[in-house]
Each structure stands twice: as C-alpha cells, then as structure tokens.
Symmetry: C2
Subunit: 445 residues, 2 copies
Amino acid sequence: MYKKLMELIEEKKYQQVKRELMEMNEADVAEVLENIDDGATVIKIIRLLPKDLAAEVFSYLRVNTQRNIVETFTERELTKLIEESYFDDVIDLIEEMPASVATKIIKSVGKDKRALINQFLNYPEDSAGSIMTIEYIDLKEDMTVGKAIENIKQLDLDDENINICYVTDATRVLKGVVPLHKLILLDDNVKIGKIMEEETVAINTNETSENCANIFKKYDIVTAPIVDNENRLVGIITIDDIVDVIEQEATEDIQMLAGISPSDEGYLESNAASLAKNRVVWLLVLMVSATLSGMIIREYETLLQSVVVLVAFLPMLMGTGGNSGSQASTLVIRGLALEEIKIVDVLKVLWKEIQVGFLVGITLAVVNFGRIILFEDVETKVAIVVCATLFFTVMIAKMIGGVLPIAAKKLKLDPAIMAAPLISTMSDVLVLLIYLNMAKLLLGI
Amino acid sequence: MYKKLMELIEEKKYQQVKRELMEMNEADVAEVLENIDDGATVIKIIRLLPKDLAAEVFSYLRVNTQRNIVETFTERELTKLIEESYFDDVIDLIEEMPASVATKIIKSVGKDKRALINQFLNYPEDSAGSIMTIEYIDLKEDMTVGKAIENIKQLDLDDENINICYVTDATRVLKGVVPLHKLILLDDNVKIGKIMEEETVAINTNETSENCANIFKKYDIVTAPIVDNENRLVGIITIDDIVDVIEQEATEDIQMLAGISPSDEGYLESNAASLAKNRVVWLLVLMVSATLSGMIIREYETLLQSVVVLVAFLPMLMGTGGNSGSQASTLVIRGLALEEIKIVDVLKVLWKEIQVGFLVGITLAVVNFGRIILFEDVETKVAIVVCATLFFTVMIAKMIGGVLPIAAKKLKLDPAIMAAPLISTMSDVLVLLIYLNMAKLLLGI
C-alpha cells in the first residue's frame, strides 16, 4: 500500500513525500513513520509537516518514537508541538516518558499550563482525574442560546468533545447539561437555565478508571462530567478514553490469568529484564507450592515402585484436572470482571459447576476407559482407578475453580489471583491424593 | 440503596413505585427490575411506565427478562414497545430471542419496518451491517446550512448519533461529512457542498465487527459511516457499539486462552449442557494428547522403578514448564490480537523469549537447587538433573510459547489456539524427554 511512498523516502524526495503525507489520514501517516527504520529520517519528515498535522501524527506514534522525537527537538520546536496537542495527550506523554524527558516537556510549556500539568500529574494513577480532558464547553444558566452559540464559536474544540455542553454556576459547580443539538433547534433568546437537563451521572476525580468504564457501560453514555469533592466541574471523560481503559483492563486480566504481574508496557517495547521480573514471581510461588505434590508422591514411593505404570497416567490426570479447574475459574473471573456474576451468586455458580463437572467428568472418564482398555496393556483395575480419579478430579476441580474466585472477591482480593496456574497447582495435589489413595485401596498394596 | 423502593414493591404500592422510578435513570430502573424475583411483578411495573421510558428500560434488561416480557405482552403492547425502541436494539433483540419469540416481534411491526428488519437479519453475524444503526443525519450537497438545520429539527434523533452529518448524492452514494458543530458556526446560506469534508474512513457492511473495532482504534474516531459495495450509505456505527465488540472480543480471547469454545452467552444464563459442551472438546483433545507423555514414561519404567524419587519432582517440573510456556504464549496472543505484534516480528519475539527464558530459567534453577539441597533428602546428582531440566524446559517452553501463536497466525489459524492448555501439554512431553534422558545419562542407569 505504501510502497511508492517508502521509495520516495528512500530516495530522499522529501517535498514529494510531504505532499503525499498531507493528503493522508494522520493515523496512516503515523503508521508510515513507524515503518521507517532510521530515526533521523522520521524526525526529518516530522519537521517537514505543518505544525498542526505534526502534532496530530505525533499523538499516534509509539512511545519509543515519541521519546526519540522529544529528545531530538529543540525547546522551540517542542513548545510548538505541545501547543498544538490536546491537553490529555500531553499528560499521557509526560506520564510515559522517563523523568529527564518529562522535565524537558514541562519546561517547554508556559507557566499557566505548567501549573495545570502539575495538578494533573497529582491525580492518582488510573483515576478519573488522570484520564479526563479539560477541553469542553462551559455555559452559564443566565446565558441565552444565542450568546452560548457565540461563545462556542470562540472555542476551537475537537468535535468528539463537543456534543454536550455543561452548565456551571459562578463557583464552577455543575448545574446541568445541554446537548449541543438542542442549541441548534431552539430560539436564540431562550435562557440556558430553561433548557438544561439535570446530569445524573457525574464522576469524582478520584474514581478509578475501571469504575468509570463500568459507569459508561451501565448507563450507555458517551461523555461524563468529572467533578471534584465540592461538585465543581474540572473536566470531562469521553468514551474514546474509556475504550483504552477497557482494552487495558482486559489485557491486565489476561496477564493475571496466565500468572504474569500486570504491566501496561507493550510486549515489544519491554526489555527482557522487566518481562522476566513480571513472570518470575508467580513461577517461584507455584514452583514452591508444587513441592507439596512431591511430598505426597514420596509418601507413596513403595506403591509407585510396585505398580510403576501408575506414573504413566500422571501427566494426563494432572493436565486434565488443571485444565478443568482453570476453565471454570477463567469463566467466573471474567464474569466477575464484567459484573455479570456477583458475590451473592456463589451458590448458583457452585450448582452450575457441579452439573457441568458431572457431565464433563463422565464423558472424559468413559472415553478414557475405552481408550485404555483398547490400546493400553494394563490391568482393568488400574483403568478403573485412573478413570474414577479422572471423574472425581474433574468434578472437584470445577467446583474449586468456580468458587475460589468468588471467595477471593469476598475477601477483597483480586479474583484473578485464582487463575489457571494456581488452580492447576491445587488440582495436582487433589489428583495425587485421590489417585494414590484409590490405587492403594483397589490394588490392595 | 434501593431498599425503600423494594419495600414499596413488596407492599404493592405501585403508583408510588411508578413515581419513584420515573425520577431515576433508565439503567438504574432496569437494575431494580432485575432484582425482583417474581416475573409477573416485573411485567406489572413495566406496564405502568410511560411507553418511551418502558422502551428505554427494556433495552437495558437481561435477555431472559426481555424474553419473559415479550412472551407475556399482547401484540398491541409489543408494537408500542418496538415503535419506541431504537432500530439496532430491535435487531439485537430479534437475534437473541428463540425463533418463536422472534417471529412474534417481527409480526408486531409494520410492513416497511419488517422488510428492513429482514434485510438486517441477512447481514452475516458479527459484521458491520449487523451492528450498525440506521438513525443518522443525511444531507445533500446543494442544501444550504439553514435548510440542513431545518431538516435536522424534523428528525428525532438520539444525541449520541447526531454529532456528524453525512452528505449523499441522489443515489445515496456517500460524498462527505459535516461535523454538526460546523453547522452552528456558519452562515445560513452557505451550501453544504462547500463545507463538507471528505470522509476517509468508510466501512463496508461485510467487514467483521472485530475489524471495525480495529479501525475505530487506529483512527481514534467515534462514528463511522457504513456503505454497501456501491459505496451507498446504509447506516452508521457509533463507538458505544464498538465498546461492546471490544468487550466481547476480549471475553472470547479469554475463553480460548482457557481452552473453552468461545460463546457470547452469559455464564449465569447458559445451561449446564451448553457450558459442558463448550468445555469438553478441548479437554478430550488434550487428554488424548497427554497419552504421549504416558508413552514416554512407560519407555523409562525401569529407570523410574530404580530411582522412584525422580517421580516426586514431576509435578513441579511439568507445572513450571507449562506455566512458563503459557506466560509467553498468552502475552504474544494478546499482542497479536491488539495488533501490537505482527507476523514479521517473529524473530524479535524469539530473541526476547530466549533472553527472558535464560533469566527466569537461571533464577528458578538456582532457587530450586538450594531448596532441594537444604530440605530434601536426595543425592546431589538428582538435584542437578532436576535443576538442569528446569532450566532447559523453561528456556524451550518460552521459545515455543512465543513462536507458536505467530506460526498459527501465519497459517491463518486463530493464534489463541496456541493457548495455555495446549502449550502445557507440549511442555509436558518436553519435560519428560529432557528429564528422563538426562537422568539416564547422569545417574548411569
């Protein structure tokens, strides 16, 4: 698609490159730049672009590319870039850059904006305050529609934020909202106070971004006003920011489900040491927990020595038990995250898992019994022990997997702690206890 | 929170209940109704509400509650309810109801709408056509701004869809867009053709909803026009529909990561048989694959019989190998889904996993060696075999986990097929081969 463009860049025909890029969507321009391997060329092209386009393209670039640009730009260039950027993008940028680069950015902006930036950086990470934007339409109750429209004309706002106007009093306390299209439909001299609606969903700056997302989903809204503890309007959150939050939350859940400490750094952008750090903690915990299984096995050494074929079924039994349990826990953890399952539903979940465990357990046990009898050279007694273990393990693993995440939530822990790796480790212990005891009993050793 | 309200409902003071509910947000009313156990009471209350509020509340209810209402309502009531609903909500409803209930809904609407509904039901599931809405503003190039505003006044549109107007020609081909706020800012006799902008992002009705979400994220847009193969405008998609798609995609990915066939039915709403069906397939596949591990063990029966303590370390080794591999595959699968990782990045991923595997492998091996020497009563040689196996398994499992999802994508399979359960099963084989061969070599048996 961009082959011709890449050739022009290769040949350093920059004026032609500029003309081509100016016809493209800014997200596509960013994609082209990301495909250039040489950082110096990227900066050369960014410098060629008109300031407003450069700022828009900049906001779509990856963190590493942004960092490269900020470090290379002169203070003057940086000031221009920041001036043309949306305020919430600037905040995001500062938060993602290392301290020295962040300082360079903060230095490049005017005094007023610097104070505001500092105020924003003080909002807790992942709070409503930290993701809101300050670009919105602010009206007063005693304004007329005509005056309001005139005011809006003065502003230079992005259309995504402009479909709802907020009405505040002299102390900036939020009084109500007016959808923008109402302004068009009404007579110029109607007072804003007459047509404004009460805003039922206002979010406090300290609310977590996860809760913001839940509020947006529950009320099916696209914009929400953000207020401080005195109900004064300080910003708005639009649904496009919420999309990022939802995606980020899902990624963190997925990481936890695989026993990885959640991180919002991209995979390719993380260095090996930080990836290793995020993974090693759970592996250590689980490795040490797994020694419990080892202890159980050592208790039954004589049994295993005399019927060593029992060992051959261990991987299958432990694997199936772990998978069964983690299927249940994964579904319940996701259900809790989406608020489809609540703590009070614990008995419903348990009953469902008992039924599912029974159906799945029976199926697996029967299929496995057939397979062993047909294809494996073992005593029928051993096959019975294996398949009975399979059935009971699946049943119990499903129940544990269904209930433990809810128990974790009840104890105010993150339910995702009860993810596949931990459930599998527990299920291993379960398998061994059921398997070895049943073997001892039925085989009479 | 709703305690008083629930008491009023209990006491059948319905007029008072109605007054209270009419003051509340429709999402909150739906929540109250969902908490009433008796279906007949829910219907009684829905019937009390003004028709427009009833329709809005209805759209927030769970599928089972909606079904109950549709089944109980008379055809006349149903017609009213559907008339007051947004068209895309009606389509969703029809798609979620069983055939008999869906037929009842389709019968209750007028002829024109029925034709349109049938057209919508023909769009492939999870396509842009199936999630779009038909309520949008449609302008012509030769209209003046004044005429356009007059036209908009005639429409009765939801504000979420109203911030962008679409310009089409006589054959409904999309010519451009005009942000609503531009209409406010400009003189009444300016022609729409003069101020419209070219729309760079138009989506075909057959595009998958997953691709729609990616387009919304890439271009950071809140609304997109949907066109047919002749570029005629047939609807729009707004970002709130995209939020549902993103959430649904994440849920499906999470299900696949746990070896569950993806389903968009809620956990509590699914019956045990369908939950069991979604889970049993992968469990069977994995159970049968695990017999490969059993075969390897049987090859080494003599070895295990003479050094039965080797068995005691199997759960720990298999668990750690599986977890290491699935950490890597989970991160890569998620990276592929978010398009952060592309097929061409395969070597970068491999190199990263080699480094991470080395760091993590060394750490685990050292910790484990210390633990065995200090706390377990085994020969040093055995400890060396265990820890060397640990190191090599972690290294190789990380490499496999990193590369296989990308290989699956290259082969046009869903990368999520290479999820934790399958990677663990492979890793078991790996562990056994390394462990038993090394033991044979070092212990000289």
